[in-house]
Amino acid sequence: LPAPDGPADDEVDPGEPIEALSYLDEPVSSSLLQRVRGSIQRRMLAAQLVELSSVGALVALREYMRLMLETINRDDGGTGGSR
């Protein structure tokens, strides 16, 4: 006897595949590859800009912190020297 969930699936014979569809293609305009290239380059540029801006922000923050620490150290040194 077939499995309980088997009979319904096996009852239908979907027939032979349409062979012509297996090699069906479409005339392609020459602009498709150009559009692909343009789209990829735009996305890469956008990613680079995002990376650059985030790196820039980090560098600015680091410089700000460094200057702040230098100022604090200088002030501490100056105060100690006057005593």
Binding site: A8, D9, E11, V12, D13, P14, G15, E16, P17, I18, E19, A20, L21, S22, L24, D25, E26, P27, V28, S29, L32, L33, R35, V36, R37, S39, I40, Q41, R43, M44
Partner: protein, 196 residues
Amino acid sequence: MSDLPDEVLVEAVRKGPADDLRVFEVLAERYQARILANCHYLTRSRDAAEDLAQEVFVKAFFALPTFEGRAQFRTWLQALKINHCLTFLRRSRRHTMVSLSEPGVEDEPELHVESTAESVLASGDDQECIARALDSMRDTLRIPLVLSDMDGLPDREIADRLGIGLSAVKMRLKRAREEFRRLYAAADTERPVAGS
């Protein structure tokens, strides 16, 4: 370079400079006609197919580092394309896959497309006849047919992707093939008459 197998080209893209698209373009050129046709007949829109094919290749390029080579590149690209097209269809609400599981849908009169046979007869080209026959079929029949006979997906995978039962897929395929053959045979028989 165009004679090299996919695996070699894929490896060259992965190892090459990120901004060098030449090798990837060889791959894209190899599959663009097929991808475009698939997108066209899945969505039934030539205009949308151009955009979809473009997006599939762009997506493939950026996803290539995650391609592990377990499947063939062609199969991987095909999976990307099918996912992209089915998402497009769901978003545009032009598909009727939900209704595939509804009882009685098999008897919908809209499934019978005799009236569109005339448009098929007007064509004098095999490719054009096939295209018109496919374009005249409803989503419920055309999409499983394209996924099966054009993409070569197994019935079980079609069922999973469309969210319907295996028996429903087989029934749809049976009807779709009968419908397609009828439309195409009519076109083939009447072509000289149509041309005269």
